[in-house]
Symmetry: D2
Subunit: 343 residues, 4 copies
């Protein structure tokens, strides 16, 4: 008999997986947790691999196999696995009666074609894509709580969608006007893969743009804001810091608005949502306000014409941008307060 | 009898002034150099105040006074002084027959009103504003070489103007379309004034936007690109690094162009100009390529419609963005190779 | 009627005070908390001054006065105030029946003369110095739980004392042999005072030694290890990071020992103490393992003669080195688990 | 006919090799320079691989082979190659009549056994080890200028030897007393090999000790100070910066000395040596004073007994610690001013 608060966490090698582990080992709603990785290097417990976790519990660590997971009592599985692994693993787990929170890109799109075009990988089964919930709980909580698969969003996508969605839902963006999303992320967002351009000396005291017009989070942004590809420019930059995304978003409004009206729009949209914090009109959040938290902070400045809006959205790419949001989605599955274990 | 290569450098306390000193003490074209500061703390030579300079010469240091400077044989004066000090000091030096390279904002505008509106200070005499050359030698070399006052540009302004000017001169920017200049700078750009928000702990592992719609370099950008205030959005961000500016500039083209055509446009504009390096179409520079140099590197990416262009412009805010460019202007005054002492 | 879990926190302006606030607003054992600062800038709640705290409670903020504090029901006061303020404030609060956890240096020494010599300030009353507990709970828990004043130790001193005390108690350090404590700290340890040498550009990509033979934490180390001033060299260095202290400590052993014996000595000394983690012989902790935690991690390497020992001790200077340890001391006062709110 | 100022540079892939290239492309004493690497990726010139070098000359780049090098007119070869490559390559080049400046560890010891014990590699021929000069020109200039092979020292070793040698030559260190060398280096010192522990996220906001009692630079320090292995403790730490080594060195003096006497000893030892800068007694250098330079700065503090000395030695590990010192050695070979191209 599966229990939702018996959890399996697959893939704790990367930065996201480790952050997930760090949060879940002290989650008060979890009854049992088991961690899986491809190569446990002989370790039996998480803290043998991660000395930072010593003294914070001794969660069991197992070599990954589908059978091992489905044979357990786990009712919820977190997948911090590569896109292609998630694409094949999630269906098996769902078939075995488990709920899945997937942190890869595999289930983020309704269209298999979109996934295949952007990720150059075979897409998961169409029916699962169709039913998967997109895991921004501030927007899709109703669907998330019952979904068999929750596709945890991309870090950049979360930051941009949370800033734009109140505006697009209200129809306040001028039709066909360009929306520039100039986004900057710390290096942990690029993952833990060994890459020359992620070595310390290459990132330190440096800054650069990358993946212009080609970043994989683009289709998520389009799908969940309703903006068109020709309308949005989404650019990404690498900050010489470990954690955090700040997106500066340039919008032309369809008519003149006041700062008060825009602040009110944001506040109404996120009313009752603890994890999104709206800043007073004319003031802006900065990364230190949100790193090591699950908050997304949003502020904005309006020019004197009341037609040009710059929104700034900040979050921790490992927190609200990945592991924290996964736990927030899990809290919705459990039906408990969404910020449990996240403050 | 004044000699142009006898130089006086006023204000070596700040980061820009120190960088200027560091370059000038080894400039092969300088015959004598004297440094002035308000409070020499009893030091007679530069290296008594700046141990980094030990063993690199023992340039004399004097307490600042107009009389001391004008009594010397100096033919060229560099002013790394506050805006209001430059505004009153430069006229005296010019009257005494000296050439002035001013690194403050005092002489950057033809209009006294623009200066006063943006800087909230009394403007220098109108005739001097009218005759001062704006010190981007890639654009205004002819004027610079004979000008009595060269207004060394703002660091952000230099980076934006160098990226936009070839496009505006060619008329390739779509009329009335928005031009977004999303700029990021290291902390030395904010100067050496003691400020809470510039303490290490406040900047480290942080990132933020500031001065949206209100940065003082705005009018320089407008004046030297010909774009209108309602067309340009110029935003500035603080990077957790010491040196470097990277500007990401979003432009809508008036018609479809190829990458080759745009690269050719840039290359032609900067032909023979050693200090601006154009990157091959589709490739982008990063800050490490230009820090501790006087280069401005420009690259760009075009979207598949050939209508949306993102230009990335990088420079060292203390190099090409300030002290280095000042020396480059000085080289034009001397009539020697513009990169002397800058490689 | 005072209650120990009604708390007053004085001084939340600095990095330590803010960290204390951050921990205490979510401390499950605290019933009411009130924060005091000299100048509240009109704010009524903590999160008006610290936007990072928004959504984490709305603890009341008051202008500081002795009367305001003593008139409240608070049974415990935390003082994150300057040394001289603590020296005069603590006696008043104690006289009013409160328990005090003082984070300054005012009560760290039994001898008024030591305080005055090192701090150049008037010492607190001798009777209070005599009765104050030195707040390293791993060593002095029995005294701390009943003390009217707990002197929270210096950050460097905590890191050094925790590494040396097991060795000095066991008599394993060779008599009269030198003990070198080469310590390195992040910039938040220097406090939030505006100082030129703490500006970002001065600290970034830099590293330096400071206060050799003169650091104020020296007498704490001597008093709580029993080593003599001529035996210990304590040096401090500034790391270009925000948080964390790593101390490399060089000891000559009085006789040959094995790594196993030394590890066993450490483990026995800290048995049952959750916040000190001993690493296996021959392995060493690093700062990332402890920053943003209340842990002190200790590891060591022995040379092949078994006579020369290098111990490495790591902690977060704002955590176990200051605010975290203050809360740990408070937990002993309350008689609850010492790591409450610290994991 | 070989000419000493026709140079071949082998291995420009790593940080040291690149720094060497950066210095040599603007060395006024070099007549021709050719660069070699194992895999040129089709590039014909250095700046095709290193866009930072664009506009600074177009030095030819060739695929590495012994024949290609010996067939050229080059009289001097710089080897920025792995230890084992240098060990076999240098003898061939020497046999062909070239002078070699080797930046690896292959020729740093007179004893083949020492090399093999510490590097676990086959040693070069004994006669070449015997005749190779150890490349600290402040100590061994006479031998360097005529040596067929100059073994460029280790970065840590340079920093420690320069601080200790004046003291050991004078016999001022107390016999048999311990000498603690606590050294800290930026990440470029670890080379450019892809390693998990050198990824940005692992180094950023971190600090750790490594290789205690086992660092390969140990035998260099012993050989060139004359101190014994049981007397010296040499520890190394990784700083979260790109460049720079700071060594804090603890010495017990054989008798009481004044600060003036020690400063005089240092100044006399380094008289006429531009690249070592001695600081006034009681003042200390910091890393920013020497990064991006070829200086080694040395300062010290003496305790009040006049018996305990702490010396602090700073250099840039890629400058005076590697590429810069290699060029300094080359200048001695050419018989020109030793700081040519290094200021």
């Amino acid at each position: 008999m599966r229990k939702l608060n018996h959890i399996a966490v697959v893939g704790v090698t990367g930065y996201t997986g480790f952050e997930l582990a760090r949060i879940l080992v002290r989650h008060p709603g979890v009854e049992t947790s088991t961690f899986y990785m491809r190569d446990t290097q002989g370790a039996k417990c998480l803290d043998e691999l991660f000395p930072q976790l010593r003294g914070r519990g001794d969660a069991p660590l197992h070599t990954f196999s589908v059978d091992a997971i489905t044979a357990s009592s786990a009712g919820t599985a977190f997948l911090a696995t590569p896109h292609d692994v998630s694409a094949t693993l999630a269906p098996s787990l769902v078939a075995a009666g488990m709920r899945v929170v997937d942190l890869s890109g595999a289930f983020r799109f309704r269209s298999a074609e979109t996934f295949t075009n952007w990720y150059k990988l075979a897409a998961p089964p169409a029916n699962l894509l169709a039913e998967a919930a997109y895991g921004v709980p501030e927007i899709y909580a109703d669907k998330i709580k019952d979904a068999r698969i929750v596709a945890n969003p991309g870090c950049y996508a979360t930051s941009v969608i949370l800033a734009l969605r109140p505006l697009t839902d209200a129809g306040w963006i001028a039709a066909d006007s360009g929306v520039v999303c100039d986004c900057k992320s710390g290096a942990s967002g690029a993952g833990k893969e060994l890459r020359r351009d992620l070595q310390f000396v290459e990132v330190d005291e440096n800054f650069k743009a990358y993946n212009l017009f080609s970043h994989r989070h683009t289709p998520e942004i389009l799908e969940h804001t309703g903006l068109s590809e020709t309308q949005v420019i989404f650019s990404t930059h690498l900050l010489p810091i470990s954690r955090g995304i700040l997106s500066t978003i340039y919008v032309n409004l369809e008519s003149q608005h006041t700062g008060e009206a825009i602040e009110a729009l944001y506040r109404k949209f996120y009313a009752g949502r603890a994890m999104v914090r709206i800043w007073p009109a004319g003031s802006l959040p900065e990364l230190q306000h949100v790193t090591h938290t699950n908050f997304c902070d949003i502020g904005f400045v309006l020019d004197k014409t009341g037609r040009r809006l710059v929104s700034v959205s900040c979050l921790d790419n490992l927190g609200k941008g990945a592991a924290g949001q996964a736990v927030q989605n899990f809290n919705h599955i459990l039906g408990i307060e969404e910020h449990t274990a996240l403050q």
